[in-house]
Symmetry: C2
Subunit: 338 residues, 2 copies
């Protein structure tokens, strides 16, 4: 039976993904059936107050779309860019957004308290990389329940690690920040303050920046033609030219895949997951990404153990973070009932 306003019993979880430019909400029931989703622009520059009230509106809208009301909510999960202090199972409302490059001006915001008060429901806050990984583990590319690591290849490289069905958080609550593994000694300066981070070489943003710099230098490429009419240089245009055989774009794409392949070897030896799930903008290239990364992973395969992870594309697209947040809210609720 589909949950309905008529019964009013709590049967669903709502997941919200707070991005730098959009706000996505999904309604998912206990069995993982997605009942509704909706995306709106997020005005994060307007500060927490207006965004929190937008979140409340979005939750109501998406519930209405699923023919439900707030009484149907078991919990609400929020995926947000880190670093943050995530919710612990024992605490009803504890998670805070500490600060984030993608949320300018948001400093130490008690999001769980604020949103929980507005909606009168328990809020679970999670780093967006972790939430996306949990989403893929729950209902996406990793739903057989095996350990997985997810890399979200967007503006930067988000990441999350799921071991034994749990998000790995670590002693300082900030594990799985694999976009900041150092892959080039004294390499490119990263927004995090380090040099040579993976995300400076193998994100959609990095691919776009390298391509733009090459064109500016005057390197010969069909990309020049492709973007003449004002089309922006991004990872999609680079992929499209690379697919058509453009040498410069092939080289830029392959270098990103090389760094991902080497990173996957480190991930293999560190976590020994069954799968490494590739999501985010770059993953829209499908096998053009997965096959190249797998090639670079296999080129170096070691001989000591048969433990190569599978490189697989994400299964939930842009909703992974919101779905994962909904799942974590359910998991948190179960834990706090234990």
């Amino acid at each position: 039976m589909t949950p309905s306003i008529a019964t009013g019993k709590p049967t669903v979880s709502v997941g919200i993904d707070l991005g730098g430019t959009t706000l996505t909400a999904v309604v998912v029931d206990r069995e993982g059936k997605r009942l509704a989703d909706r995306t709106t622009p997020a005005d994060v520059h307007g500060g927490p107050d207006s965004v929190i009230s937008d979140m409340v509106e979005l939750v109501d809208a998406v519930l209405t779309e699923a023919s439900l009301d707030r009484k149907a909510i078991i919990g609400v999960g929020v995926a947000a860019p880190g670093p943050l202090s995530p919710s612990k199972p024992a605490c009803r409302r504890s998670g805070r957004i500490i600060c984030s490059a993608n949320l300018p001006g948001w400093v130490d915001v008690p999001l769980c308290d604020r949103l929980g008060e507005a909606l009168d429901v328990s809020i679970t806050l999670e780093n967006d990389g972790n939430a996306a990984a949990f989403g893929e583990f729950w209902l996406g590319a990793g739903k057989d329940g095996a350990d997985l690591v997810m890399l979200t290849l967007g503006t930067g490289v988000g990441a999350g690690v799921i071991l034994n069905g749990q998000v790995l958080r670590g002693h300082f609550e900030n594990a799985g920040e694999l976009g900041h593994m150092i892959v080039v000694h004294d390499g490119l300066l990263c927004t995090c303050g380090q040099r040579g981070c993976l995300e400076q070489y193998a994100s959609a943003g990095a691919v776009a920046r390298r391509a733009a710099a090459s064109i500016e230098r005057g390197d010969s490429s069909s990309l020049t033609e492709a973007v003449k009419n004002g089309t922006p240089i991004n990872s999609e245009t680079v992929v499209s030219c690379a697919r058509a055989g453009d040498e410069l774009c092939m080289r830029i794409w392959d270098e990103a895949c090389f760094h991902l392949g080497v990173a996957c070897i480190t991930i293999q030896h560190a976590f020994n997951p069954k799968r490494i799930v590739l999501g985010g903008g770059m993953s829209e290239a499908g096998s053009f990404l997965v096959d190249r990364v797998t090639h670079h992973l296999h080129r170096q395969r070691w001989t000591l153990h048969e433990d190569l992870p599978l490189i697989v594309p994400a299964g939930l697209g842009r909703n992974a973070g919101a779905i994962g947040a909904a799942g974590l809210a359910l998991q948190n609720r179960v834990k706090s009932e234990d």
Copy 2:
């Protein structure tokens, strides 16, 4: 009351560390009190039969030293070089040594069955890097119970990861092989088949090889004098010359510490442990190692979160593996009683 032959009740665990050249056994009680330890040469080239019978003899000898007999044993743990198929809590005798560069000719040896039969007790088999990490977690540098990662810097780089009081094993039972993180693209060939592994740059073996190659090339160094009388070139001689101000040795040592520092950054972002424990031969240099590695870790510190791990020297010396194996045998026994 000290456990004794008179009472005959099982009260202790015996840990054995099967190394490439030595066999170490320790007797530890439930509270972590070390009652006896003993080391003998291991003739691993003689094959499993003779080594297993040496293990039985050593267990009896170390029990006698602690005024105990076999009836006092709750369980026996064995730390062995991997890869292996470690014991699972549910299986009384399951662990096997699959193969190992350090145990030539040992192929798919059912060590737990064989040793368990001989001693009539439950055997727990664990990768030596994991066992050492668990030893440090239980009774050494990490005994406050926080997550830790241990690197054992010997001939190669062994490693183990302890999260929430458990050895991290991963989907393929081979997690935490951090000596095979790739730190130099297309770098030195490793015995594992990969190129550029950490252990080719930052193990006691790597330090010795680099120093020997430099001397052979005719580089000027006080090391030439130091080893003239037949003293071997090893990481201790390199440290001793570096401490005395020898430039070549300083450079070789610092490069190893640099690679360890960068590896610690990746470990920080991957696992977010409270501590990274450095053990093995190189760690005998004490603060001369720890301070340099910490320096290289801090040189790159990121600005997003206060989550720098502490770099600390191991606390249990050469017995960490055997002690950890004893601890894991106890932990396994508790789990199988659950």
